[in-house]
Symmetry: C2
Subunit: 518 residues, 2 copies
């Protein structure tokens, strides 16, 4: 596999799974000059006049959709670790004897470990989408036939919109739907909030199958997915377990160190003058970030400050802000708990968004760059502020990108992270995998000190008189190394790229290499 060094100095392949790639050219340097994907024109004459698109079962729908070897099939992660549909889907694909599928999920979760056998037997050729946990480990060990492609939520929209990735068959798990294919995620026993990750699939896929465990008479209102884009509707007993949309990462941390980090973040935002009437923020789903919301809330209440909007992943903490009048709106990309689902269903000011609205970099702007401050996590940050969210320092690919890359475009991006984990340094010389170029990371907050990117002279000035422990990132890194020592680097097989990390504009930012067996 031929590799070249891209503008970030990382080795990336020219061709991935037979498809020509564009190496990363620098932040805001690549300019697309093409046209969007061109879906075929449909005609109502080929669809039932009474609008009833229900077919007997998923197997029937896949056959009608013309499933065959080598196709791309997409699924979505609205039910997160509670998703039962995807495993069922691939049981059927396997039963049909179909091979070499490109699986194009919006994310995968540990529950999808079930699919490893289909990656092994050639049913699935490779995964384009995040590979959390077991599937990432499988990939890191070089066992996947094709090369994984990791994209942000916005990058997934961009890739499909731009025609980089054509979905042949989209399978959309819909907590509520009607027989025409109108669907939403806010009602029904599997209600998991919005289903906006499937929007681009519904717009551009060749065939669109809506699968629901709550079929209601037309019209299904609200319609987050529009039936006019849907080919078939399938009824099943259960899509999965919606209580599992609450993963471990959506509970407030109890660790004293992480609570300290959260407090630092809130203080930073306050002292930097970001927290003012009409401001906006986004907090990721990690336990530290949730604690930050609680600390910031106290400061907002103390100063009588109200936000114009907050961005979710929504949790009960954001819902409380809305219900207590501390923000006008939640602009939500993904509900992380059932309180979020309830609020979205009941409150018109808890607005569902899609990756198109929030994150697509190949639109006429997006919401991400308009957010005053985004508080995010990372697995590693290096002394150039480059950050990693997909792999650990042992070289294993274990997480997806989510909206993380997209959120770096906020007016102030803060990584709230411990300086080391399990005696493995987090602030290091060079990231294992580059997911976010340092120039977009504004502040790194650790329990050991806060580093402001030297590019952000404005923030450095605002914080000149702060009591917070502002340090250079090198100082923090040195301290960490002095405590933990420098761990040995993992050994890679540099001839074998197992996955690539795309930037928000579709260019290739970095490669993940096969780990050499120990």
């Amino acid at each position: 596999m031929k590799l070249i060094k891209n503008a970030a100095g990382r080795l990336v392949p020219f061709v991935v799974n037979g498809q020509r790639q564009i190496p990363f050219k620098g932040v805001n340097k690549y300019k697309p000059d093409g046209v969007k994907a061109k879906p075929k024109i449909s005609s109502c004459k080929d669809y039932p006049e009474d609008g009833n698109k229900v077919v007997r079962n998923l197997k029937e729908a896949l056959k009608k959709a013309g499933i065959k070897n080598g196709m791309t099939i997409s699924t979505h992660h609205h039910l997160r670790d509670g998703d039962a549909l995807t495993n069922y889907l691939f049981d059927i694909v396997h039963e049909l004897g179909i091979k070499n599928i490109r699986w194009f999920p919006s994310a995968s979760f540990p529950v999808h470990e079930h699919l490893i056998k289909y990656l092994e037997d050639g049913t699935i050729h490779h995964i384009e989408g995040s590979m959390n946990g077991p599937l990432g480990r499988f990939t890191s060990e070089g066992k996947m036939k094709g090369v994984g492609v990791l994209r942000s939520h916005g990058g997934r929209y961009q890739a499909v919109q731009d025609g980089e990735a054509h979905i042949d068959i989209a399978v959309i798990a819909a907590p509520t739907a009607d027989s025409f294919g109108n669907a939403n995620g806010v009602t029904g026993k599997s209600a998991s909030g919005l289903i906006g990750f499937a929007l681009v699939d519904s717009e551009y896929a060749g065939k669109v199958i809506v699968v629901t465990d709550n079929l209601v008479p037309f019209p299904c209102v609200p319609w987050q997915i529009q039936g006019n884009n849907v080919d078939y509707v399938v009824q099943v007993d259960s899509l999965g377990d919606s209580t599992k949309i609450v993963s471990g990462t959506t509970e407030v941390t109890k660790s004293p160190d992480r609570l300290l980090i959260a407090e630092y973040v809130a203080q930073f935002i306050d002292e930097a003058g970001i927290m003012k009437n009409g401001f906006s923020f986004q907090a990721g789903s990690g336990g530290t970030n949730l604690a930050f919301v609680l600390y910031l809330k106290e400061r907002m209440k103390a100063k009588g400050i109200k936000a114009r909007f907050v961005r979710g992943g929504s949790t009960k903490y954001l819902v409380q802000l809305l219900e207590e009048g501390l923000t006008d709106y939640i602009l939500d990309g993904q509900t992380f708990d059932l309180e979020g689902v309830r609020s979205m269903r009941e409150n018109p000011n808890h607005v569902n968004t899609s990756p198109f609205i929030s994150y697509n970099f190949h639109g006429k702007g997006n919401f991400a760059s308009m957010v005053d401050v985004a508080v995010l996590g990372a697995t590693e940050v290096d002394v150039k502020f480059n950050a990693n969210v997909v792999s650990h320092s042992d070289g294993y690919l274990l997480h997806g990108i989510g909206g993380w890359q997209n959120c770096l475009y906020s007016k102030c991006s803060i990584l709230a992270i411990p300086s080391f984990r399990d005696r493995i340094p987090v602030i290091i010389d060079e990231v294992t995998t580059l997911c976010g170029p340092g120039e977009l990371v504004d502040v790194v907050v650790t329990e050991r000190g806060i580093a402001i990117n030297p590019l952000r002279k404005d923030l450095i000035k605002s914080m000149a008189k702060s009591s917070l422990p502002i340090k250079s990132i090198k100082e923090i890194s040195d301290e960490v190394y002095s405590i933990c020592g420098k761990p040995t680097k993992p050994k890679y097989d540099l001839s074998k790229v197992v996955a690539i990390v795309k930037w928000v504009d579709g260019t290739v930012l970095d490669s993940v290499f096969k780990l050499k067996s120990k």
Copy 2:
């Protein structure tokens, strides 16, 4: 101009305004085999990171959008006869010395008589969109430089989606918007309801300008138009007069004949078994149709029947149905009075739709065909049930198609019309202009009798024992001619097509010819 006879036996041109056309091939006979229009890929790097797209004024926005001779500029009729923006827009276009614009409105109204001078001086080359009143008269007299193109609301979506008509610059009047371009029609002093007619423009136009007289801080919620599709935002003092969305056609008739027709229609729907729990209907905006809603309501109440949904053009009468619990939903395509606007703003079960959802024939189904019964008007119907809505028997083009063609796809389409108007027969031998093929017209209800299309044996059977005056359409026509006599046909210049009527699939259904001066 070379004409050929299409499948409906009407003479239509091959080439219109330099563009090759497909003659009508029969209902559900034409199968598109191409791909959708291919908008250019944008990049956030070319848009302000803070999301603020406000430019000084409309002239500035048009210049930034690269306005030049021969471009297509679109506008929308949400403010109907109260629209002030379009006239202002073309004053600027004229001032800039731009020529040969294809004006692509979703509809035009008498208020746009102001534009005749620009049609005369070459600023506007021709109109594609309905030409109500003065502009239609101007066109019929052969004074427009190009050939008018009349499309239904669904046909307008289809034409842009399919790439038949590319809009260079869309100018969207938005009663409320934010600086990013998110916009809605339900709030603000010019609130006129939804702004869904502009959806396709926002999706496919080269440049999109949102003009508002109510700029609110981001986010403008709800966003019926998404800022991610918008290039520039312009603030003006006033978009127009929203009280004028109530035109003469949205008041209940006082004519005893027309009240009788309305009563017949309600009785027909009841006796044919269409009016049952969970049914649906759509009523056009004519005074007869509004009266029908009142009569049907009485019957629904008497029998304890509730509709699942009703389709607007919403008026206070439909709002009353919703608020009195006689329907679960209003699925609204266009608000026809301020009560409709209020209801849409306040009631989540008063749902806004777009021509994509409701009417686009080149989607995977649409709502129109799922409606149990649609009650519509017509200027003429002939003995083959062919119907006309755009011209009068004197040959003048005076109305647009609206959603009329699209609604013919409902499970039962009823034309509720007087048998003659001002001693001019309405039920005649052959329509002046063919807008709806007879096979899609199920029932014609006049004060003189009710004709059921012989193709609808089911309806004939259901109504066998009815006390209603069921007659053949020929009987009604004969009666009318015996009263009014046969008026002399208008004289046309058959060498000069002044406008064409498109069918819902983009093919050419009929031509409108220049009237010979008397």
